[in-house]
Symmetry: C2
Subunit: 160 residues, 2 copies
């Protein structure tokens, strides 16, 4: 059987902000999404300033691709939380190593998008930049287990 | 300069639902995300049933990759709406051809995730499956121009 493989290339990179991919305290963090000027020009972001939030696809480029756990495991290996399969986590140990995050767009300077609370470190390859449409948020009642809110209680807290 | 390229492979495919990638009337649509059994087993989805919504990264596999418009253009070529750059759109004509959507998880049968209102057609390669954490939705006040809500007024309407 032929493998079905797609190539993706960064459209931008994260500049500034945090260097270490630690779990928590992204509150108030500021960084730049620097769009690749060899591929794109000012036309690429016309109208983007009308949106308060962006949705970003990025590559977890610091993850060791051999560090994949096929079995279910507890979030952050915390015994208080139930084992969850690879598709029940959102962390960096995943197939294709893509993260999806929402961040606030603060201002635009040339091809630099200044953003807040993007949970991706300096140097992260950005695979896509989309405006956040509230119409495309989850529809209907949202239900989730208790462990994500417990796990993320300090995720967007300010650094100590 | 060396190109920075990553390979991605589908973890699943969409089975059933709509065949034609038309713009509107995804309301109530049902389809299956069939996880690739050659790569994953039942452990991969342990705990997923606790979540009402999934966040899906998929490939716009029907898009002609040469059909890219570098300049700003009006959404759906509608003269009522302003020109927007490639990063101001969410449609299929984009670099890396990745869509991100939220859908409702209805039930799970083996490695088949039965979902509602996933706006991806039969055969679509799924690149990632994540649980929706409400903590990771947009934080703070959301602001967007008027054109997305006008454009999407029938997007999740029921088919006529």
């Amino acid at each position: 059987m032929t493998r079905e493989v797609f190539e993706i290339e960064p459209v931008a990179h994260v500049v500034g902000g945090r260097i270490e991919p630690t779990d928590d305290y992204w509150g108030g963090s500021q960084s730049i999404i620097r769009i690749d000027a060899s591929q794109f020009d000012a036309e690429s972001i016309v109208g983007l300033e009308e949106f308060s939030h962006l949705e970003i696809i990025f590559r977890f480029h610091l993850t060791d691709p051999t560090d994949l756990h096929p079995g279910a495991r507890r979030p952050r290996d915390n015994q208080s939380w139930p084992p969850v399969g690879i598709f029940g986590h959102r962390n960096m140990r995943r197939r294709n190593w893509l993260g999806v995050s929402r961040c606030r767009l603060i201002h635009i300077d040339g091809l630099d998008l200044h953003v807040e609370e993007l949970d991706a470190v300096h140097g992260t390859p950005i695979i896509d930049i989309k405006p956040w449409f509230s119409e495309f948020g989850p529809r209907g009642e949202v239900r989730e287990p208790i462990w994500p809110s417990e796990m993320l209680s300090a995720y967007f807290a300010s650094p100590k």
